[in-house]
Symmetry: C2
Subunit: 276 residues, 2 copies
């Protein structure tokens, strides 16, 4: 087995497979020298489909010359039996944890197929969809209506990461995040936009390095003043001074993913959604 051999990795689920894939990605990232070919097999909800999966696993093993790795979140014993009819390293997500949970809780689990992602009717889900619509309606300072029902209002210079962060907060956490650009007019007046003043306690700032900002803006408006390094330096410094003066908590988005930024925001502003 050479260091750079390719392994096929399957994520198998009776639902979307997103749970298996999320855990699988985290684990595979611990082996950065390996190359993995990743295959998602969702909605495996019959014995026939489980057997089809076994066939695909066998074929991948033959073609790779090494046995595949399978992250499995199927729960029914018949399904699992159908699946395991192939040579692979099977890592069962649920099997390992369900039993200790049953013992601890003194209850049997429902073994419900694809339960987590089949929640389109739940209140939690409805909140998430509402929050997405809210983020879209309140992107880039488009609307000042209903800012009082927002959970957080992101501020920062154009292209500092506000929009994807707002959408992620909505999608993952059901948090209503508006976002509002800080623009040269605000810096000249040295004041927050009037609309934001009464919501000061909900504000959270994003900043970014001037180099990175210039690079991002170049892609959108090449060779503009807007994208120039000088202008980016000016805007970022002015925005930072404004945030410090107004005591707005802020975070540097430069080397952080939207997952990390969103999680930090949740932590810092103690958003009370879903019990956090």
């Amino acid at each position: 087995m050479t260091e750079f051999s390719t392994r096929t990795v399957f994520f198998i689920s009776d639902g979307t497979g997103i749970t298996a894939e999320t855990l699988g990605h985290s684990l595979l990232a611990q082996f950065p020298d390996m190359r993995f070919k990743q295959v998602r097999l969702p909605f495996v909800d019959s014995i026939e489909k489980a057997r089809d999966c076994a066939t695909r696993i066998r074929e991948a093993g033959r073609s790779d010359g090494t046995r595949p790795i399978v992250f499995n979140s199927l729960v029914g014993p018949e399904l699992v039996a159908g699946l395991r009819n192939a040579d692979a390293l099977f890592l069962d997500l649920f099997e390992r944890f369900i039993e200790p949970l049953e013992q601890e809780l003194g209850q049997r689990s429902t073994h419900t197929v694809g339960r987590f992602h089949g929640i389109a009717d739940s209140l939690d889900y409805k909140n998430r969809i509402e929050a997405i619509n809210f983020a879209l309606a309140h992107d880039d300072g488009v609307s000042h209506a209903e800012l009082d029902v927002s959970d957080v209002i992101l501020v920062g210079v154009s292209r500092s990461g506000k929009t994807p962060t707002s959408l992620y907060l909505a999608m993952q956490f059901g948090v209503k995040a508006a976002n509002y650009p800080l623009i040269p007019e605000d810096f000249e007046r040295s004041k927050l936009p009037t609309e934001l003043h009464k919501h000061r306690r909900k504000l959270f700032g994003l900043t970014i390095s001037a180099e990175r900002l210039s690079q991002i803006r170049q892609e959108r408006r090449p060779d503009s003043v807007y994208a120039s390094l000088d202008n980016c330096h000016y805007e970022i410094d002015a925005a930072r001074r404004l945030m410090e003066r107004e005591r707005i908590p802020w975070l540097d988005s430069t080397a952080r993913s939207i997952e990390e930024i969103a999680t930090k925001i949740m932590q810092d502003v103690h958003l009370n959604k879903r019990g956090y």
Copy 2:
């Protein structure tokens, strides 16, 4: 222990905790009669922080009168030791799987802290952010530019779920999804909008029940013709006929979450992002 006692559940991670939380939610959903108070403790990257977690776990146990459940994705032995200095059911996400993976791959894992979500520089991450910007720029038929670089174009009547699905496809899978409304003018002409014709093979339709659609539209424009059940029936039937005539694959979004819809679309149109 009564059936409805509350348990505190902690999701603990040296990164965002999203992996622990995703798996935890799936597992807890198997116990629908229980009430769980959920607490995310992210960015636990020092022994002091791990010990603080242990304190919070102990306090929760005292206040609940039952020991908490901990989904732990910390990997370093010192961190884990600091954390385990409390009475709880510890479910270690990584510990269970890393060892069999190391054996299978013949490699040691890097045990890298928060590796998965610290990937803001990776190509994969850049694709996701680009896809989010693409989805926003091509929401609701706003722009016809660059439709040729889209991976999929969602079509359907207004409020059938196109926008959140496009954003989820972008955020989770890095897929560039445009979306395009089917409107009464299209039905009268009995034809797809001209711009879409040359991209027919990328089209994917969403439909929805008339009752659900009317309900969603009522929330936005109460007592309008747009929201009336009759009009919703008309639009949905006409859109479905149009999609059938044009042989556009479609899916009913009524009882499905955006995760399920997005996964089905990935499966049906064989999107080749990230090796699927």
